[in-house]
C-alpha cells in the first residue's frame, strides 16, 4: 500500500500537456493523459466491506480485480443524482485504479499560460489533489494530480464511520 512513486508536482508549474477531461457533478475536470490507462464503460461494482468509504468497491477488468474510487466521496461532495457512466482507469506503476466519472468529454492540450494555481478554498476543501485551474474558451477545468488521487496513503488514515449495527 505504498504511495506511487510519481513525483508530486508543484501547482501551477510544469503541468502543461494533454489532459483527459471529464464531468463530475456538473463540473469539468482533467487527468494528465499519461496517467490514464484506459476508459471503460461502467461495470457492476462489488462493494468491499471494511474498506475505506471512498472505495466504491472492486470490478472485474478482464480477469483482473481492480478497486474503484468514488471521486465524490474522495472530495467530500454530496452523492450524485444519476449514476456515473464510465470508469477512467489510472495507472501508477503496476497498480491500476478506476475512478468513476459522470461522462468523459475530451482530450485536449492545455498550455502553461492557461493554467492558474489552485485557489485556496479554505480548510474544509482538500486541494492537495489539484494541479491547477485551466481557463480556456470561456470554460474552467480543474486539473487533478492523478498520483495524489491514486495514493491511498492519506485515505487509509481517514476514520471509518461507525458500524451499521
Amino acid at each position: 500500500m505504498t504511495a506511487p512513486t510519481v513525483e508530486t508536482r508543484t501547482p501551477g508549474r510544469n503541468v502543461e500537456g494533454k489532459y483527459l477531461t471529464f464531468i463530475l457533478a456538473g463540473e469539468e475536470y482533467g487527468f494528465e493523459i499519461l496517467a490514464v490507462h484506459e476508459i471503460i464503460g461502467m461495470l457492476p461494482v462489488t462493494p468491499v466491506p471494511h474498506s475505506h468509504p471512498a472505495v466504491r468497491g472492486v470490478v472485474n477488468l478482464r480477469g483482473r480485480v481492480i478497486p474503484i474510487l468514488d471521486l465524490r466521496k474522495r472530495f467530500s461532495m454530496p452523492p450524485g443524482d444519476v449514476p456515473e457512466t464510465c470508469i477512467v482507469v489510472l495507472r501508477a506503476g503496476p497498480q491500476l485504479l478506476g475512478v468513476a466519472v459522470d461522462a468523459v468529454t475530451d482530450v485536449r492540450m492545455v498550455r502553461a499560460d492557461e493554467i492558474e494555481p489552485p485557489p485556496l478554498f479554505g480548510q474544509e476543501v482538500d486541494v492537495s489533489c489539484l494541479l491547477g485551474i485551466a481557463k480556456s474558451d470561456g470554460r474552467v477545468r480543474i486539473l487533478l494530480d492523478a498520483a495524489r488521487v491514486l495514493s491511498m496513503e492519506p485515505l487509509a488514515s481517514v476514520p471509518v464511520p461507525a458500524d451499521i449495527a
Binding site: 462489488t46 472492486v58 483482473r64 458500524d163
Partner: protein
C-alpha cells in the same frame, strides 16, 4: 614440550588412514589439547569439540560409517581452521579437499590449485546446483551494480551475501570443495561489509564482481572437474588472498576481470538441459496466459447468455456455442493446471539430502514422505523448498541424536524424519516431524541472550522461545558447520513465507522430537468455493473450510449475556455470526430462521455463519483486491464469478476471530467512531 596446535591436528588427521584406531587416538589427544586452549576463538573451539565428540562415538567408526565420519571430521577441522584464520590474520589454510595433490603442509599457507569432484558425486543434485547458482550469481551481479551507485544499500549487500552464502553451503554439501572454499571467502568479505566492518568502497566492489566471475568460471568447470580434475586459474588464489584482506590490495588490480575470465578453466560446458520434452516459459507469460483464458471464459459466458444463442429456433448456433463451451472449459482447466505442480520433486530432493547428512554425521535416519502428490502453485513450491531444506538439515544436525545417545535414551537407534504434505481447507500444510531430542529451550535462550535478542527467558512460553529461531542472525548450532550454515536463512525463510501470508509453526517436546509446520495459503491456486448470498451481495466461502450447513430451528438458537448469539446443535455450542452485520451490508435485519447457517472452521476454531441463501459451488481463482485497498478484515481476496462480477472470498479464520471478540473493533481495521 610446546602444546600442539591446529596444524598438528591437521597433520594427525592426514595420517588417519581408514581403520587405523591408533592414529585416531593420537588425533583425538591433539584435538583435545587444542580445544583446551582458551586463547583460541570460541567458534573454532566449538568445531574442534565437535570433532572430538565424533571421535568419541564408537558407532561413527564402525566399518560402514567410517568413510563418512572421516569426511565429517574433515569438515569440522576446516571450519576450525577457517575460524582461526578469521580471528588471527595470516593463519594457515587447509586445502578444500583432502584429495588435492597440493595438500597443505602443516604451517604453510596453501590454497587449492586443483579442482576435482569425486566420481560418486550426484549428477542430478549438481545439475540443480548449477542452475540455482547461476540464478544467485545473476542476482548478486545485479545487486553489485546497484551498489556501485548506492554503496550504502544494505538490502543489496544482503543479496550478494546470500548468493555467496547459498553457493557455499550447497557446494560444500555436494563435495565441491574448491567452490565452497572460494565462496566462503567471498561470503566472509561481504559479511564484513554487512557487519559494517568494511566499507563497500575501494577494491571491495571490484573484488566482489571478480568473485562472481570466478564463481561462474568454477561452475562452468564442473564437468571437467568431474571428468578427472582441472587446474585452477591463478585468479582463484589471487582473489582468495585479496578477499582476506581487501584493504591491502591496490585500488586498480593487476589482473582485470576479462583476463581473469580467460585464465579461468577453459572447459566451459553448456548449462545442463531441461528434461526432454520440457519447455522453459517465463512465469509472467504463464500468468498472462491464465489471465487471458479467464477473460475468454467470461466473454464466452456472456455469449452463452445472449438471447440469440438462447433462442430455441437457432438450434445450429446454440449447438456450436455449446461445443465451444466445452473447449473453453477444458482450456481453462489446463491453463490453471499449468501453474500447479506436485510437491514430489521438492520432497524427493530431501531424501537424498537426509541420507547424505545422516551418513556424514554418523546418525541413522529413516526418511519418510507422504502426500507427494499435493499440488501447489509453482511459485509456492519454490517458496516452500528453501524452508524445507533448512528444516531437514536442522532435524538431522540438531534434532536426531547419535545412535548411542538414542539407545541410552531408550529409543531405537534409527531416528525417523517424516515429511508430509496435505491440503487442509484453503491452505497447504507441509509438516516435518522428527523423533529426536526436541528443541532445547535453555540452549535457545542462552543463544538469544548472547545475541542480544532477549535479556532473559524467564516466564517466556515455549512457543515464544521457539520463535527465536527465526530471529535474524540466530543459529542454534553450537558449532557452525558448513552444512547448517550461519543462521542467515531462517529469518529470510520466514520473511518469504509471511509475504504470501504463509506461517511457520513449531511444536517440540524434550526427548520426544519436534514438529515444524509450514502453512501456505492456497490463494494462488484454484479454490472450490461455496457462493452464498447475503442481502444483495454474493460471497465465496472456501468449500474445504465448511463443515456442514444447517437450516436453523428455534430450539437451536441461544443467546449469551443477552447479546452474543449461539448455535447449539448435537451437544455442541458455536458462536453465531450474522454476515450481514459483520460485513456491514445495509438492509433490514434478516430473520435468522429464514436463512442458512454454515458451520465453518477447524477444531475449536469454528463458527456458524448466517447467510440468506446458498447459491451453489464454483471453482474460483483467488485474486488480490488491489494495492490501494490492501488487506481487508475478513476477506482473503476476490474472484470472478460466472456472470463476470467480482465475488469476495471470506477469510474463515478471521471470521472466527471476529465471532470471539466481544468488542466490535478489530485490531487491524481503521479506528471506529463508535
Amino acid at each position: 614440550m610446546t602444546p600442539p596446535t591446529i596444524d598438528d591436528a591437521v597433520a594427525a588427521f592426514v595420517a588417519c588412514e581408514p581403520g587405523d584406531a591408533d592414529a585416531r587416538r593420537r588425533l583425538r589427544e591433539i584435538l583435545w589439547s587444542v580445544v583446551c586452549d582458551r586463547s583460541l576463538a570460541s567458534e573454532a573451539r566449538n568445531a574442534l569439540a565437535d570433532a572430538v565428540a565424533l571421535l568419541d562415538d564408537p558407532a561413527a567408526f564402525a566399518p560402514a560409517a567410517e568413510a563418512s565420519s572421516l569426511v565429517l571430521l574433515r569438515l569440522h577441522l576446516e571450519v576450525a581452521v577457517d575460524r582461526l584464520e578469521m580471528a588471527a590474520a595470516g593463519g594457515a589454510t587447509v586445502n578444500g579437499s583432502a584429495r588435492t595433490p597440493t595438500d597443505g603442509a602443516p604451517g604453510g599457507a596453501a590454497v587449492a590449485t586443483w579442482f576435482e569432484i569425486p566420481g560418486d558425486a550426484d549428477g542430478a543434485l549438481i545439475g540443480d546446483f548449477v542452475g540455482e547458482a547461476h540464478e544467485f550469481l545473476e542476482v548478486a551481479e545485479a545487486a553489485l551494480l546497484r551498489l556501485e551507485g548506492a554503496p550504502d544499500d544494505a538490502e543489496s549487500v544482503n543479496d550478494v551475501f546470500r548468493a555467496f552464502h547459498t553457493i557455499k553451503g550447497t557446494s560444500s554439501f555436494l563435495g565441491l570443495g574448491a567452490i565452497a572454499s572460494f565462496a566462503h571467502h567471498a561470503e566472509d568479505m561481504l559479511g564484513r561489509v554487512r557487519g559494517g566492518e568494511l566499507a563497500f568502497t575501494g577494491t571491495v566492489p571490484e573484488l566482489s564482481l571478480r568473485a562472481v566471475d570466478q564463481l561462474k568460471a568454477l561452475i562452468a568447470a564442473i564437468p571437467a572437474a568431474r571428468a578427472g580434475g582441472v587446474e585452477l586459474s591463478p585468479e582463484y588464489a589471487v582473489l582468495i588472498a585479496a578477499m582476506e584482506d581487501p584493504l591491502a590490495v591496490p585500488a586498480s588490480p593487476a589482473t582485470p576481470s576479462a583476463e581473469a575470465r580467460a585464465a579461468a578453466p577453459a572447459a566451459a560446458a553448456p548449462a545442463p538441459g531441461l528434461p526432454e520434452g520440457t519447455v522453459k516459459v517465463r512465469a509472467e507469460k504463464l500468468d498472462r496466459l491464465v489471465e487471458m483464458v479467464g477473460e475468454l471464459v467470461i466473454a464466452h459466458g456472456i455469449l452463452k447468455e445472449t438471447p440469440a444463442v438462447q433462442d430455441a429456433s437457432q438450434q445450429e448456433l446454440t449447438q456450436r456455442v455449446l461445443q465451444a463451451d466445452k473447449i473453453v472449459r477444458e482450456l481453462q482447466e489446463l491453463a490453471l493446471g499449468l501453474r500447479m505442480v506436485p510437491l514430489r520433486g521438492a520432497l524427493t530432493k530431501l531424501t537424498r539430502i537426509v541420507r547424505d547428512l545422516a551418513a556424514r554425521s554418523g546418525k541413522q535416519v529413516v526418511f519418510e514422505t507422504a502426500g507427494e502428490d499435493t499440488e501447489l502453485d509453482r511459485t509456492l513450491v519454490d517458496l516452500v523448498a528453501d524452508p524445507l531444506m533448512h528444516m531437514v538439515r536442522n532435524a538431522v544436525d540438531h534434532g536426531i541424536e547419535t545412535p548411542s545417545e538414542r539407545l541410552a535414551a531408550g529409543k531405537p537407534a534409527m531416528g525417523t524424519i517424516r515429511v508430509e504434505a496435505r491440503q487442509a481447507g484453503d491452505r497447504v500444510l507441509v509438516r516435518l516431524r522428527d523423533d529426536g531430542r526436541g528443541l532445547q529451550r535453555s540452549k535457545i535462550i542462552a543463544k538469544a541472550i548472547e545475541r542480544g535478542l532477549i535479556t532473559s527467558g524467564e516466564g517466556m512460553p515455549d512457543a515464544a522461545v521457539f520463535e527465536l529461531i527465526f530471529a535474524p542472525g540466530f543459529s542454534t548450532a553450537d558449532a557452525i558447520t558448513d552444512v547448517s550454515g550461519r543462521g542467515v536463512g531462517m529469518d529470510v525463510v520466514r520473511r518469504n513465507l509471511l509475504a504470501i501470508r504463509g506461517r511457520t509453526l513449531i511444536e517440540s517436546e524434550p526427548g520426544k522430537g519436534s514438529v515444524f509446520t509450514i502453512e501456505l495459503p492456497l490463494t494462488l491456486a484454484i479454490t472450490d468455493g461455496m457462493v452464498v448470498r447475503v442481502q444483495g451481495e454474493r460471497f465465496i466461502i472456501p468449500t474445504a473450510r465448511i463443515r456442514r450447513c444447517v437450516r436453523p430451528a428455534p430450539e437451536m438458537l441461544r443467546t449469551a449475556l443477552g447479546r452474543g448469539e449461539l448455535l447449539q446443535q448435537g451437544g455442541e455450542v458455536l458462536p453465531l455470526l450474522r454476515l450481514q452485520r459483520e460485513l456491514r451490508i445495509p438492509g433490514p435485519s434478516a430473520d435468522l430462521l429464514a436463512g442458512i447457517l454454515i458451520v465453518a472452521g477447524d477444531g475449536h476454531n469454528r463458527v456458524a455463519l448466517h447467510v440468506d441463501e446458498l447459491l451453489g459451488q464454483q471453482q474460483v481463482v483467488a485474486k488480490p483486491l488491489g494495492e490501494s485497498i490492501g488487506r481487508v478484515r475478513g476477506l482473503t481476496g476476490g474472484a470472478i464469478l460466472g456472470d463476470g462480477r467480482v465475488g469476495l472470498i471470506l477469510d474463515v479464520d478471521e471470521l472466527v476471530q471476529a465471532s470471539r471478540s466481544a468488542a466490535p473493533a478489530p485490531p487491524h481495521a481503521a479506528p471506529h467512531a463508535a
